[in-house]
Symmetry: C2
Subunit: 216 residues, 2 copies
Amino acid sequence: MRVGELSRRTGVSVPTIKYYVREGLLPAGELSSPNQARYDESHVRRLRLVRALIDVGGLSVAAIRDVLEAVEDPDRSVHEVLGAAHDHIAPREGGPDDAARDTARRQARELIARRGWLVDDDNPAVRSLADALAAFGRLGHDRFAEVSLDVYAEAAERIAAVDVAYVAREVAREDVVESAVVGTVLGDAVLTSLRRLAQVDASARAYGTGEPPATA
Amino acid sequence: MRVGELSRRTGVSVPTIKYYVREGLLPAGELSSPNQARYDESHVRRLRLVRALIDVGGLSVAAIRDVLEAVEDPDRSVHEVLGAAHDHIAPREGGPDDAARDTARRQARELIARRGWLVDDDNPAVRSLADALAAFGRLGHDRFAEVSLDVYAEAAERIAAVDVAYVAREVAREDVVESAVVGTVLGDAVLTSLRRLAQVDASARAYGTGEPPATA
DNA sequence: GCTATCCGATAGCGTCACTATCTATGATGG
DNA sequence: CCATCATAGATAGTGACGCTATCGGATAGC
């Protein structure tokens, strides 16, 4: 197919497709003549993946380029690819280097030890967890880590178990990593929405159909 | 204190503080003379909240303004404020209006019915859930909704239960909604990081300390 | 008085994700 | 064969965003 049909089938405008090709998100079509290129189903698939990562995952174009490069590099392990994906989802380093951050780092390490998780101390996700906990601390919400953190961790374990099982369906390396990226990035979006819905439900049950206490 | 000290105590530059004031994220200091203003602890607190929402939550300045306006409006219910917050976290409307979206909407409604959640069908979180599920579908990952969705939902329920309990500690309306916003926005960041760590652990356990299958 | 700091206002900057325009060429239908 | 349309590739422009820089005056505190 030519670029017009690719555009129609994916809902992405032709100039945007050209832009993605320039940015390395999409391989160029095969030139049949100096100004004609053919695209196939792999382009449709890739374009849908790119749009999903942008629209639902909120990844930047540069982040997607990095992730796709990792996906296509047979030398990268699944862990490496997923690490790349998560690093681009997680917010960048945040907040000052204060006491709250030290406390948060300790909380993170203790949690990992408590649950017996086999993760390196220098895993980037440990840092982003500590950043988030530090933010709670700075806002005077230190109780969060005490009362809620382990419940969150328990829930995360259950989810991770099905995530790993989901990826294990695949056989070929490229399918494994693609599954892992999609599951991680889109799974976050699903989880966020479900949490919100469950909050609404829990709140409705706790306070009648109405409202939490509004003591002015 | 004057703006210089506010800047030092929060790590936010003076021009940026002025910018936030202009954008309505931070109330102006109290003028003691035409070119002198005083700031107090409430400004420190607010500025830390703003930075946490930006750095950790990834919210835009405009989104934060909307959320803070809702927080400060005594007429808004907690549900409304939290809805405003979630709407700004969730990715904007994504993807074409195709068959995948119809299927996804049905999956979302069925899930809600299955779990007996008391939520309106037109809750924005239902839409963002459907968007995410539709993206799975378009990528040929329809199995996700079949094999993983209920586990996610179960986990979300457990988390939401502690979220509601956490907020219930507060008494005054403004503290309730602030707690809810912080818990929702920063809680997402915590949960995302924990999921990633739990995935690493689960993967390490399933495939030795090494790797998922890399059948080339 | 002197220097550092401040206020308020305006203008500018760098990044990002497109979008528009242009030239030259090729495809397609009657 | 020719008119019309689509296309490739290149370059420049756009609008939103989150700051950042600069300026003209005024004030604080020694």
